[in-house]
């Protein structure tokens, strides 16, 4: 049973008299990897936090409408731009989420072993998470949420502070999570990354959805002026 689709109806977020998100209407369904693309300050992170329920809209509604929508809270996860590491070991960071989700302890060990293996962190399992490199920390953030086997995973610029090899590793892990059946919704301002990852593009500009299309169409024949300017590197704000 699925919690998707996620439907946003005329959603606005205002702060200090300014509309940070302006009447956004969207439907996010199961399947393709969705990339939310846009320049800095377009409202990408805000939109993701709104979808994930970390903040509420000033106006409009955010609804999970799948048959299992009542359990939507437990079935979604998020990875932040700056990984938040609990002050404990790598293994304990993964175990923490599993305990919150009341995964039986007998199953916990197996899941921890599996995700650490698949994110290349087995060797540092007993180290303090706080002393890992940024790249390792982001992989741990992915492992921690992967272990919870979410149906939907939101990723907020997960590679923004990583070098190319770190970025490659994270994209690889995201791909594996996707192949395991998890819906990926990711923000980025990096065009090259969007081209690599996207199977569906939502282009955000000044708090509004300027375009929502498949990547081939978006990258070859953008419909909006803002999107073509962004693709050409002309869109400065």
């Amino acid at each position: 049973m699925s919690i998707l689709p996620l439907i946003l109806e005329e959603v606005s977020v205002q702060a200090g008299g300014r509309a940070l998100l302006d009447r956004v209407s969207l439907e996010i369904g199961a399947g393709p990897k969705t990339v939310i693309l846009g320049p800095n300050g377009a409202g990408k992170s805000l939109l993701l936090r709104l979808c994930h329920g970390l903040i509420g809209p000033t106006d409009g509604r955010v609804r999970w409408t799948g048959p299992d929508a009542a359990r939507s809270r437990r079935r979604q996860g998020m990875v932040f731009q700056k990984p938040v590491m609990l002050r404990r070991s790598v293994r304990a960071n993964v175990a923490y989420g599993l305990r919150l989700h009341k995964v039986p302890s007998i199953e916990r060990g197996a899941r921890i072993g599996r995700v650490l293996e698949r994110t290349g962190l087995t060797g540092v399992a007993n180290q303090s998470a706080r002393v890992l490199s940024v790249g390792e920390q982001q992989r741990l953030a992915l492992a921690r949420v992967w272990a919870l086997e979410p149906e939907v995973l939101f990723l907020d610029e997960p590679t923004a502070s990583l070098d190319p090899s770190g970025t490659g590793a994270v994209e690889q892990i995201i791909q594996e999570i996707h192949e395991g059946g998890t819906k990926i919704v990711m923000t980025t301002h990096d065009l090259a990354q969007a081209r690599r990852v996207a199977e569906e593009v939502i282009f955000l500009h000044n708090g509004r959805v300027a375009e929502h299309s498949d990547p081939v169409a978006f990258f070859t024949r953008p419909e909006s002026e803002a999107a073509s300017a962004f693709l050409d590197g002309r869109l400065l704000w």
Binding site: L54, M78, F80, L86, R87, L100, R130
Partner: protein, 234 residues
Amino acid sequence: MSDIGTAFALAFQLIVVLDAELVDIVGRSLSVSLTAVMIATAIGLPLGAVVAVYRFPGRRAVVILLNALMGLPPVFVGLTVYLMLSRAGPLGVLGLLFTPAAMIVAQAILITPIIAALSRQVMRDLYEEYREQLCSLGAQPRHVVLTLLWDGRLGLVTVVMAGFGRAIAEVGAVFIVGGNIAHVTRVMTTTIALETSKGNLALALALGLILVLLAVGVNASAAVLGGVSAYRRA
């Protein structure tokens, strides 16, 4: 001048030979203040965590009150506890006045706001960092409180040490509610006050030196732990 020199020499001698009276007084000081710190920690840490995490009406007022109470004058606390515990007071039937228990109560009252206010600050900072992540993982406020208490442990130990430092060095409150009775309620600070006025500088100095050593030791441990904590945070 030579009097002071003699006093120092005698003081060192008392410490070196572990003079029975000195040991008795130091032991009582430690047991009273450590017990007070345990009680204040048991109340202050959860209080600080709750105020840091939960949103409730009057939260700001509680924060302001806790911060203000950090500067509570010991003599005033002593007086209040004295009035409560005196024969005519509401808790007079307990017969606690002029016992170590009364001193523990007074010191616990004195340092609970310190531990609560400082630990709130530690956990508030941590909460700023953790809030969205914990919420995303599905943590309820009670989980958040436990997580902050555990993950903030190094910072919280220094908070508890600050409370201990305040308790062990305090004289006004324990003097009033303890009465400075030899072998019963005499602690380091009250003895120093008494012996100094009697001109018995050696014992006063010996106790003073131990007090300073304790203060330095507590602060040094706090600094070391703070350093470890800062390293972990990097």
